[in-house]
């Protein structure tokens, strides 16, 4: 009881004592921007960072650059009355200046797991003064995640999926343990074939062969970073994997796949449908 009281008090203190909810909101981080839009606050957004590319309607907003290398003056020039950020915004000196300017700043937790996602939605909804919309969206997403987990549990023979982030210079950079790629692969009912290393790392050809993925998963990219199937099939190690031999090479939009925002249940469902066609 006491705990609940102190928590309410803390939340009450954390919300800025403004009579009106903020009307000029700057969102930093792709998933934060997506959540703000999903909560119906699109018309209150006045700026975004370079990682915020969905929904397409936000692209027209002024871009303050990469959220870990903010320019304090650029941010102030947009005259925001609230800043919502993914964890990791910086540099600290820029945050100090924004703090001195008295702009309320809400940073979500660093957790990219499904639970972290629900917490992030709640934090952002409270900062935007949309608690009911927040509860509804959190319930929606939680239900979607639950469905995805249930769907994943029904898979009888899970496929081994290797997520390839880049193939620069013929070296495979893959998603390992604890990466956001692993989270989404597991939500979709697959097994992450990238084992024995953390995060995103370049792995040796032998490690690729040992991973023996049934499916290769990549981001749908344009330009220099695009990896076409010929590159995969021409790669000495990748070409020897079961995935290459059966032509099981999948692509999905990067922010949808790895962003861990409101569309994550959708991403899990899409990936599941691609991995196990005809299994509902």
């Amino acid at each position: 009881m006491t705990f609940r009281l102190s928590l309410t008090l803390a939340l009450a203190l954390a919300t800025p004592a403004f009579a009106d909810p903020a009307q000029r909101v700057l969102t930093l981080g792709g998933s934060v921007t997506e959540i703000a839009v999903a909560l119906g606050a699109q018309d209150r957004l006045i700026g975004r960072d370079s990682t915020s590319t969905f929904p397409p309607s936000v692209i027209a907003l002024p871009d303050v650059g990469y959220f870990r290398a903010l320019s304090p003056e650029g941010v102030l020039a947009l005259n925001p009355d609230l800043i919502l950020s993914e964890s990791g915004a910086g540099p600290q000196e820029a945050l100090d200046v924004l703090n001195a300017a008295g702009i309320p700043f809400t940073m979500s937790g660093p957790d990219t797991s499904p639970d972290g996602l629900i917490a992030k939605i709640t934090t952002i909804a409270n900062a935007l003064d949309l608690p009911d919309e927040g509860k509804a969206l959190a319930a929606d997403v939680a239900q979607g995640l639950q469905q995805a987990r249930a769907r994943a549990a029904t898979v009888e023979s899970p496929k081994r999926v290797l997520f390839i982030l880049s193939l620069q210079g013929g070296r495979v950079m893959a998603g390992g343990e604890g990466s956001s790629a692993e989270s989404i692969i597991e939500l979709a009912g697959g097994i992450n074939a990238g084992m024995g290393f953390d995060g995103y790392k370049q792995i040796t050809d032998e490690a690729v062969l040992t991973a023996a993925p049934d499916v290769i998963l990549m981001m749908d990219r344009e330009g220099d970073l695009a990896i076409n199937n010929d590159m995969v099939l021409a790669h000495p190690a990748l070409s020897q994997t079961p995935a290459a031999k059966t032509g099981a090479i999948l692509r999905m939009d990067g922010l949808l796949l790895l962003g861990f925002g409101p569309r994550t249940p959708q991403a899990a469902a899409d990936l599941h449908a691609l991995l196990y066609p005809g299994q509902g």
Binding site: G47, S50, P62, D63, V64, G65, Y66, R68, A69, L70, S71, P72, E73, G74, V75, L76, A77, L78, G88, P91, Q92, E93, A94, D96, V97, A100, A101, D198, G199, Y200, K201, Q202
Partner: protein, 353 residues
């Protein structure tokens, strides 16, 4: 070692005094322009009105001026001057117009220090981390640059003599070692650390704050003020070491002081602003073309022009992609490299490089 060219026929050069006045005027003009330019309003005319006591600034304008633009201006001036003077000192010591502070391992060492702080900073005991806080990266970068220079001077010193050729080769070896260690740490880094690292290596004045300036000023200011004392010795060194010794120059002491000054200035500059290339080579070269190789004019002029150049580059970095900003290293390279090439091509016949 290529000797610095001494012109075979005297060309008419502008008087050093006229050049000094021009550089000071240029610095003041660029400073005022820079203070009155940025993503958030506050024009030069408004500034002049405020400084002459005509109008009062709003709270937001005051914040932008004193917490953002002035620290950036001071830091740009300091870092630019430090890099240009360090470059001029190294070129004088090595008697080679292409020498830069990187030669004594400052850059590689500072890079390794910064990368260590970014990747391994989380492993520090909380008490120590709290002590350094936001200054952990600059502190580690400075320490790395300093250690690298110490090792180099030790390696190159034998029997009380500093062998310039050995110093150069040892610098290359040390650079390779630091590069390898940086590579290992890069491999260990996670996504976010990798991005931080990339941004640090491109350099930026975005993190300018009075605290950072106060950290670096005690290292940079003495070098800027005292380096002209080395001018006569460096001028004599241009003739060769034995000749300089015959002229009554303490060659060993000159070498040691020059390296010390370079390590302090370039190390502190790199520590607070990251890797900013090109200033140390372009600025002294331009000045040698204007006023000749005399270090008595070259060193103070390098400080003025280096500072001006960096303030100008930072202004472009802040405004070109507003409200976002470009890393300043990109701007200095994009602006500096073509200008430098053009000068080289134009003066190829005369400069004898």
């Amino acid at each position: 070692m290529v000797a610095l060219p001494l012109p075979l026929r005297a060309r008419s050069r502008p008087q050093p005094r006229a050049v000094t006045l021009t550089l000071v005027a240029l610095l003041l003009a660029v400073s005022l322009l820079s203070l009155g330019t940025g993503a958030a309003g506050l024009s030069p005319t408004r500034l002049i009105a405020a400084f002459t006591g005509g109008e009062a600034l709003t709270r937001a304008e005051t914040l932008i001026l004193y917490d953002i633009r002035l620290p950036r201006l001071a830091m740009g001036l300091m870092v630019g001057a430090a890099l240009a003077v360090a470059g001029a000192l190294m070129q004088g010591l090595f008697r080679n117009p292409l020498a830069d502070p990187g030669i004594v391992g400052v850059g590689a060492g500072a890079g390794l220090g910064a990368v260590s702080a970014i990747v391994l900073g989380g492993l520090l005991p909380p008490a120590l981390a709290a002590l350094t806080g936001a200054h952990l990266i600059p502190f580690a970068a400075f320490l790395g640059g300093w250690i690298a220079t110490l090792i180099l001077t030790r390696v190159a010193a034998s029997g009380g003599q500093t062998a310039i050729a050995t110093l150069l080769l040892a610098g290359i070896a040390l650079g390779a070692i630091a590069g390898a260690a940086t590579g290992i740490l890069t491999f260990l880094a996670d996504d976010q650390q990798l991005r931080d690292l990339t941004f640090w290596s491109m350099g930026s004045l975005a993190g300018a704050s009075w605290a950072k300036i106060a950290t670096a000023l005690p290292l940079i200011l003495p070098v800027l003020l005292l380096s002209p004392l080395l001018a006569r010795a460096l001028n004599a060194l241009a003739l060769g070491e034995p000749q300089a010794a015959h002229l009554g120059i303490h060659v060993e002491r000159t070498k040691r002081l020059t390296i010390l000054a370079t390590a302090a200035a370039a190390g502190a500059a790199t520590a607070i602003a990251g890797g900013i290339g090109f200033v140390g080579i372009v600025v002294p070269h331009l000045l040698r073309l204007a006023t000749g190789p005399d270090h008595r004019a070259l060193l103070p002029h390098a400080a003025l022009l280096g500072g001006t150049l960096l303030i100008g580059a930072d202004m472009i970095a802040r405004t070109l992609t507003a409200p976002a900003e470009l890393p300043i290293g990109i701007v200095t390279a994009t602006l500096g490299a073509p200008v430098f090439l053009w000068i080289l091509l134009r003066r190829r016949g005369l400069a004898g490089i």
